[in-house]
């Protein structure tokens, strides 16, 4: 199978959906000729024109609100938010408007829009261009949240998001844009709420999102050499969450580590860990352990930044402790 980058996968998904549905359009800062700073959207304006690939002023709440109104009245906008950190700027439009319109209208109005943005530290971009803020929006009922872990997921989830009748937020890890993965030429969609068991194992479950799936897979390979077989699961969407697949795995392995690049406190790792505790408690041999980003603003210095996020080595270390029985109580 051919291999393409995550960036190309996103571009293909959007182009295919724009060809398929004339109501789909893109808007955001520098999305047209510039194709975004990460060049993810390069070439789209040449095919679809400036009518459907719209450069906006630097006014995130404004263009987010415009997307909500367009979505409510028959368009399917894809909003490009240049950095995930800017999500704080659009919170009212996303969380008070987009997320609640369907409910507040008693089901009469829909907001079919996609907000594509990014996440991920270790790019030496400091505290306002490095955050992974997916937990914030996952807290708000009415929003769906997808976190592609490779080019394959990026394409299939984006196509599903564009066809969904709800506001969907997609967080792409900006460090993975150039990562290649096998992506079929023929069309496919990835349904929301279906986790992907990336690797089967019997000793411990590693539940990981986005780029942390790679971290978990690397850890699993190291552990396997030591005789510990880890099962790696990528939820792919955290809202909706495929709880059943996670619980089934943990019942089998009796141990779990949840790895995610959002801050650890009040985050995705906490949410998943507590669901496992509630629903698989009597099958657990050890506490479910959370591994998120440290609860600090992301520092600039490489010496500091690199220690804020989970790494394969640290996942391996934790897995060893759990499997050896050393971790009877939570760390």
């Amino acid at each position: 199978m051919r291999e393409i980058t995550l960036s190309q996968a996103v571009n293909e998904a959007i182009a295919e959906e724009m060809r398929r549905d004339p109501t789909v359009f893109l808007l955001g800062e520098d999305v047209a000729e510039a194709g975004t700073p990460f060049k993810v959207l390069s070439g789209l304006v040449e095919e679809f024109g400036t009518e459907r690939v719209i450069d906006t002023p630097i006014a995130e709440p404004g263009f987010m609100g415009i997307a909500v109104g367009a979505a409510m009245t028959g368009s399917r906008p894809i909003v490009d938010l240049m950095f995930g950190d800017f999500i704080f700027l659009i919170m009212d439009q996303l969380c008070n408007q987009a997320a609640k319109t369907h409910y507040m209208s008693g089901g009469k109005l829909n907001v079919p829009l996609v907000l594509r943005t990014n996440m991920g530290a270790t790019r030496r971009s400091a505290a306002q261009h490095s955050q992974s803020l997916h937990a914030l929006v996952s807290h708000i009922p009415g929003l769906k949240v997808a976190m592609p872990s490779s080019a394959y997921e990026a394409k299939g989830l984006m196509k599903t998001a564009i066809r969904d009748n709800n506001p969907v937020v997609i967080f792409e890890d900006k460090l993975m844009y150039q990562d290649k993965a096998p992506v079929p030429e023929e069309e496919y969609l990835i349904p929301f709420g279906e986790a992907n068991v990336k690797r089967e194992g019997s000793d411990i479950t590693l539940i990981a999102t986005s780029s942390m799936v790679q971290v978990a897979e690397k850890a699993a390979a190291i552990l396997s050499n030591e005789g510990i077989e880890a099962e790696v699961i990528d939820p792919r969407t955290i809202v909706p969450l495929d709880e059943a697949t996670l619980i089934k795995s943990v019942k089998k392995t009796s141990r779990a580590i949840v790895i995610d690049e959002g801050h650890q406190s009040y985050g995705v790792t906490s949410e998943i860990a507590s669901r496992l505790n509630e629903k698989a408690f009597y099958h657990l041999d050890t506490p479910v352990v959370r591994m998120g980003a440290m609860d600090v603003p992301i520092p600039f210095s490489p010496a500091l930044e690199d220690i804020t996020v989970p790494t394969p080595d640290r996942v391996v270390e934790m897995a060893r402790k759990l499997c050896s029985g050393e971790m009877i109580h939570a760390a």
Binding site: F63, G74, G106
Partner: protein
Amino acid sequence: MAKAKTNTEDYLRMYRQMMRIRTFEDNANQLYLSAKMPGLTHMYSGEEAVAVGICEALTDDDRITSTHRGHGHCVAKGANFKEMFCELLGKEEGYCRGKGGSMHIADQSHGNLGANAIVGGSMGIATGSALRAKLLGKDDVTVCFFGDGATAQGLLYEVMNMAALWNLPVIYACENNGYSEYTKTEEIAAGSITARAEAFGIEAFKVDGQDVLAVNELTQKLVARCRKGEGPFFIELETYRYHGHHVGDINREYYRSKDEEKDWKENRDPIIRFRSYLVAEGIATEDEIEAMNAEIEKDATEAVAYAEAAKYPDVSEVDMHVYAD
């Protein structure tokens, strides 16, 4: 009053719609005072000529966005009393199945995109609706209602900038009722409100919001120009709210005097003024107007009774409509 026109039916409908708003609000206020209505509500009484003058210049295909003070826009855009009172009381047959209440009331089938409880929250939505019209080649127009208080929100300036850059068919209708919640507008708004729109190259107008014909005449012109691609436009409508910020804001002499309220009610009431005009022009007799008022009152009384007796939504609806299929 602005220049007379010959369309008797249009005039009578405008009067009727203004009277329906006033009557709806009087009944809503009674529901609050008698503790029959859950929560609070923000009365539109006094501002009727704004909603009616504008909405009578629109078709069902045209959209509006409304505010927390939204009952007037809702009635003016074609809603029925029955579903509105049901919504106010949180009943299943309400326009939003009881999930929105007073602050989110809207008859979506007539192009009302919802009342918004975030001050200025709908400015993006209205502008986006206009962008959609342009992108999909439709000729509908969107009117964004908001108050003077909302002119302090940054969102307005972000979306007016884009609406002007992209020539969008949207009309920003600023209902200046003189008060930003409990604070005089002059204390929160520096300079001129219309000049702010003009800074973006948007043609801005100031109109007497108590004169339904003046409002309607201006809006008709601007809607026609929007349909020809000449939008956006901005209107500042000078008006007044008779009640407090909400129904519970009763002792309000610390921010405005009773004399001031009395003056607006006695000398600038949009309904009294239009009624006198209709009679003077021979468009309707006093008896005909009284009969119309009585009919509206009866309609409201019946709708209130219906809503009071109506069912609440089944508890199973609580997690329905979080996501669309």
